[in-house]
């Protein structure tokens, strides 16, 4: 429902909840006026609507800090009113006592308690597993400008297949993300599942996450990486293990049919950068487009995935995502662009 609305407006998707749990935002429209913060508590990209233990730790810490902050704020405002209404002055000595206990000792003790609590919570929010002992499923994610290269690794650490801007994980199974970047620093963040982790050129950072609830979530780049940083998102599908295995085996064998669309795709040089499994298209510079029709968006979370938006992106990628690396193809005949767009939308 939301996607249709977006398709009609044709504007880039910038807010998280538009993808995924449709209707969540709409239900909260009334709440938005009553109490704005509440309306943003649920959704596909909310750290306050956790679907994994790490994110639950972050949410617990947030609520603890929030409640503590409210109590202290009430106390300070109460003192302010008291000071404003008080007729008779206190002695210098009692004022000094208030400053000492309320201004120095109390904050020191509260901050020590909060620091201890936060540090104590850290192993929950970022659990660590030894390399060799784990045997966990591994997914390598590389931050590109401005999209995500996703490689599913096999037992021997070699990539089984590659995809882009979409991560699929089985529910209830801890997955290791190997995070890389070839040029600038990005940050990999799935708020619903856990904290963020930087992707630093020359390093391979590891983040382990587990989804406890099936669903479609939204991940974002959380470190400014260039003009289209805000348009660098990805979809996370937490799937039931059986459905996940079915998807894995289907994905290994997927191929792009539609002879005419594919022929145009190849003739106009798209395959120099893009790959489609099962075809001659094997480019590795740009995002892999295998099963593109199943993706949640066009241009790493920029537009809803419709044939019109794909055509628009092919003609002027820079108009959708500023300074994107893909050149524009507005010189191609309209019929060809539309045919290619329909072909990509039909890829399963």
């Amino acid at each position: 429902m939301n996607d249709d609305r977006l398709a009609a407006s044709g504007r880039p998707i910038r807010s998280g909840p538009s993808l995924g749990r449709h209707g969540v935002c709409r239900r909260h429209h009334l709440l938005l006026f009553v109490f704005p913060p509440l309306a943003s508590c649920s959704g596909a990209q909310s750290a306050l609507d956790p679907a994994g233990p790490e994110a639950a730790g972050v949410a617990t810490l947030f609520y603890t800090m929030l409640i503590g902050g409210i109590v202290i704020w009430c106390g300070v405002v109460g003192l302010l009113f008291y000071a404003a209404r008080k007729r008779r002055a206190h002695s210098t000595k009692s004022a000094g006592q208030l400053v000492l206990w309320g201004g120095a000792v109390f904050p020191t003790v509260v901050l020590a308690a909060l620091l201890t609590y936060a540090v104590w919570l850290m192993p929950v929010m970022r659990p660590w597993f030894q390399d060799d002992a784990s045997g966990m499923r591994r997914i390598e994610v590389t931050g590109e400008q401005f999209w995500w290269r996703v490689r599913y690794l096999g037992e021997d650490s070699g990539p089984v297949f590659e995809t882009a801007n979409e991560v699929r994980i089985p529910v209830g199974e801890r997955v290791v993300f190997l995070l890389k970047s070839p040029d600038v620093i990005h940050s990999f963040w799935i708020p619903v599942l856990g904290g963020k982790m930087d992707m630093i050129p020359g390093r391979e950072n590891r983040l382990t996450l587990v989804a406890e609830k099936p669903g479609t979530y939204r991940g974002v780049c959380a470190e400014f990486c260039g003009p289209s940083h805000a348009l660098m998102a990805f979809t996370v599908h937490a799937m039931e293990p059986r459905a996940y295995e079915a998807w894995l085996s289907a994905r290994k064998n997927s191929s792009g049919a539609d002879a005419e669309g594919l022929a145009l795709f190849l003739r106009h040089g798209c395959a120099a950068c893009h790959a489609i499994s099962g075809t001659e298209a094997r480019g590795t510079i740009g995002p892999d487009l295998t099963a593109f029709g199943e993706r949640g968006s066009v241009g790493a979370g920029s537009l809803a995935n419709t044939a019109e938006h794909i055509a628009r992106f092919i003609r002027y990628p820079d108009g959708v995502k500023p300074e994107v690396r893909m050149p524009h193809f507005s010189m191609l005949p309209d019929a060809d662009v539309e045919r290619i767009a329909a072909y990509l939308k039909g890829l399963r």
Binding site: T108, A112, L115, V119, W120
Partner: protein
């Protein structure tokens, strides 16, 4: 005690003692853990040993700051007069400096404790 540590130490240098100890403690804690983890020293000495050594170092740093605070308290005349000590006299300058040093010692004490709290919870080197 009064004669043991002469009054000549009550210069501007005493003002810097506690923050310097704080800075040293901070650098030593961070550098020690970073080198321990980066060089993979876990095979030779355990993290528990490092934790214990830094714990002892923390206590030494706190003792040093308490000593600095005592000297400052003495310089302040053991709290005989109230701040702000802003008269243009030698006596007031001394009291002002003593009081400032005492406050800085308190800040440094708290900072050293805060910097040491993660030592209790860090479990191991990651990678």
């Amino acid at each position: 005690m009064k004669s043991f540590i002469p009054r000549e130490v009550e210069t501007l240098w005493t003002l810097f003692t506690a923050p310097t100890v704080w800075a040293l403690h901070f650098v030593v804690c961070y550098a020690a853990v970073a080198i321990f983890c980066a060089k993979g020293l876990a095979e030779e000495i355990t993290f528990g040993t490092l934790r214990f050594a830094l714990g002892v170092f923390t206590l030494l740093a706190l003792a040093m700051i308490v000593l600095s605070a005592y000297l400052a308290w003495r310089q302040w005349g053991f709290g005989s007069g109230d701040p702000p000590h802003d008269a243009a006299t030698r006596e007031d300058r001394k009291y002002f400096q003593g009081f400032a040093t005492l406050l800085l010692s308190g800040l440094s004490f708290v900072a050293v404790v805060y910097a040491a709290i993660p030592l209790i919870f860090i479990a191991e080197c990651q990678r």
